[in-house]
């Protein structure tokens, strides 16, 4: 992951963009209209989302449509699940340590 996904989705506008294109792929112009933003502002958000692979551009004629990359979101969730497992392992180790310490008292 080149871009920090946390950073990408920490921004409410970017979350709104993702929600919107999860339903339907959109062009940057359509996004600018829906969010009442300049093309420039939209381009910045698109850049961040694209860099962390959360959206995929697909040219169609003269337009570029951005699609939501659900797989990336899944990867991210899977990755967080691993983080959870890591904590779980540590806490199970702590259970054993505490149980030993209790017996020593």
């Amino acid at each position: 992951m080149k871009q920090d996904i946390f950073q990408a989705i920490a921004d409410p506008t970017r979350r709104a963009i993702l929600t919107l294109i999860a339903i339907q792929a959109l062009t940057p112009n359509a996004m600018a209209e829906k969010f009442d933003m300049t093309r420039q502002a939209v381009s910045k958000h698109i850049k961040v989302l694209h860099e962390c692979d959360l959206i995929r551009p697909e040219p169609s004629g003269r337009e570029i449509y951005y699609h939501f990359n659900a797989k990336k979101m899944q990867e991210f969730d899977h990755w967080l699940a691993q983080f959870r497992e890591s904590w779980k392992t540590q806490f199970n180790q702590l259970d054993k340590v505490l149980s030993t310490l209790k017996q020593q008292k």
Binding site: M1, D4, I5, F6, Q7, I9, A10, P12, R15, F76, W79, L80, Q82, F83, R84, E85, S86, W87, K88, T89, Q90, F91, Q93, L94, D95, K96, V97, L98, S99, L101, K102
Partner: protein, 165 residues
């Protein structure tokens, strides 16, 4: 050991915060020590087969803990924690950053907040981790993955060896 101990793990991606709650079948004094004394921390605070090794720990406000996570092949990942607030047996906060072996911390870090409460000899620990950048978490996980991969490899070898017997 009780089997119905609570373990909650939630991530608010937008707020870049991880929330962890865990109950332990032990009194507050013991659990507090397990989180604040180097000799106990080193016994559990790295997911096996990784292990933790504290070089020094000064558990006072402004004090630091300099420690490594060591993978089975001996690779060390150093981190520096600085205690920013301590309310004995109730709460402590720290700032955590990766560092090199000479204690030079990286610029980005994360804020950890630990809360402790006891009820009927069960101690609940509530942890929030804020602004842990993904890249840093990934590095922790990478170590975890490497360690895990090695464990599986050892198991493969063990199974292969036992088949031949």
């Amino acid at each position: 050991m009780k089997n119905d101990l609570l373990f909650d793990f939630n991530v608010d991606k937008a707020a870049k915060t991880v929330y962890i709650t865990r109950e332990f079948d032990a009194g507050l004094d013991l659990v507090w020590d397990a989180f604040t004394k180097a000799e106990i921390l080193d016994q559990w605070a790295a997911p096996a087969p990784m292990r933790a090794k504290t070089k020094y720990m000064d558990f006072t406000v402004g004090g630091k803990r300099f420690y490594a996570m060591i993978s089975p092949d001996g690779e060390e990942r150093w981190a520096l924690q600085k205690y920013t607030s301590i309310t004995p047996k109730t709460n402590f906060k720290l700032y955590n950053a990766f560092a090199d072996k000479d204690e030079n911390p990286e610029p980005a870090g994360s804020e950890w907040d630990y809360n402790f409460s006891e009820e009927n000899d069960i101690t609940k620990v509530y942890i929030t981790i804020y602004n842990e950048s993904l890249e840093r978490m990934e590095r922790i996980m990478e170590g975890f993955r490497i360690g895990f991969a090695m464990t599986l490899k050892n198991l493969d070898e063990l199974l292969a060896a036992s088949k031949q017997n």
